[in-house]
């Protein structure tokens, strides 16, 4: 029951993350959407894995890996978005609809 709820929570976080990415927003919104998305994705994998197999160690190790990757992604994304925001005048990512520059 618990695992089910937590799985659901992760799914919700994924949905929220996608929703945030798909809707108009500035750079910060994009970043946090990515964060939420990846956290939710990790959870989405972790909780069902717990439900199925008893190997807690393996699951945890895997998730640690994923989360660290998530951190790296974050760093790169921040760098890119910072550059983009600096180049364009606004922070609205949707204004960046041309490949120019």
């Amino acid at each position: 029951m618990m695992l089910l709820v937590y799985t659901l929570m992760s799914a919700v976080l994924v949905a929220v993350g996608i929703f945030g990415l798909a809707s108009r927003g500035n750079a910060a919104k994009i970043l946090i959407s990515i964060e939420l998305l990846s956290s939710g994705a990790v959870g989405l994998v972790f909780f069902p894995m717990l439900a199925i197999s008893r190997s807690f160690v393996f699951s945890q190790s895997l998730m640690i890996l994923f989360l660290s990757v998530d951190g790296v992604t974050l760093g790169i994304t921040i760098a890119v978005l910072l550059m983009a925001v600096k180049r364009s005048e606004t922070g609205d990512m949707n204004k960046l609809n041309e490949l120019r520059g």
Partner: protein, 150 residues
């Protein structure tokens, strides 16, 4: 285990609402803070399950994300930080940082005797991480209070 279920439902609802709030609100700083809160709640979920390492990882992600995003957004948007925002950031950061510390103190035996990971040998690391996090959070808080402008 009714308590477990209740806790999980509470965490679920909170995470959902904060996450939703973070992406629907207009103000950048608030959305960042709300996202931080959601991620912290996820970390609590991991803690609840007993996977402390994962909880810590999630926590570090959350805080790090918050810090960096907050800093950069402040820089990008040149928003005027209002006092309410500073207070919110402070509060959230403190809570995020202190919760595991408190929890670890409270449930130390459970940690060490947990079925999953023998955490005793990692405890110094645990402390170290939290120390760094506190440090970073303090810097952020100071900067925010000072109204750091470029």
């Amino acid at each position: 285990m009714l308590l477990d279920d209740v806790i999980s439902v509470v965490i679920f609802l909170s995470a959902f609402s904060t996450g939703l709030y973070s992406i629907t609100t207009e103000k950048p700083v608030r959305s960042i803070m709300a996202a931080g809160a959601a991620l912290w709640l996820v970390s609590l979920a991991y803690w609840h399950l007993g996977s402390f390492s994962l909880a810590l990882m999630q926590l570090s992600i959350a805080v790090g994300a918050l810090v960096i995003i907050g800093l950069s957004s402040v820089q990008s948007f040149e928003e005027k930080i209002v006092r309410g925002d500073v207070a919110a950031v402070l509060a959230v950061t403190l809570v995020v940082l202190l919760t595991p510390w408190v929890l670890a103190l409270r449930f130390y035996e459970d940690i060490t005797t947990s079925i999953n990971v023998n955490l005793s040998s990692y405890f110094p690391v645990f402390v170290l991480i939290h120390g760094l996090l506190i440090l970073a959070g303090s810097i952020v808080a100071v900067l925010l209070v000072r109204g750091w402008r470029e």
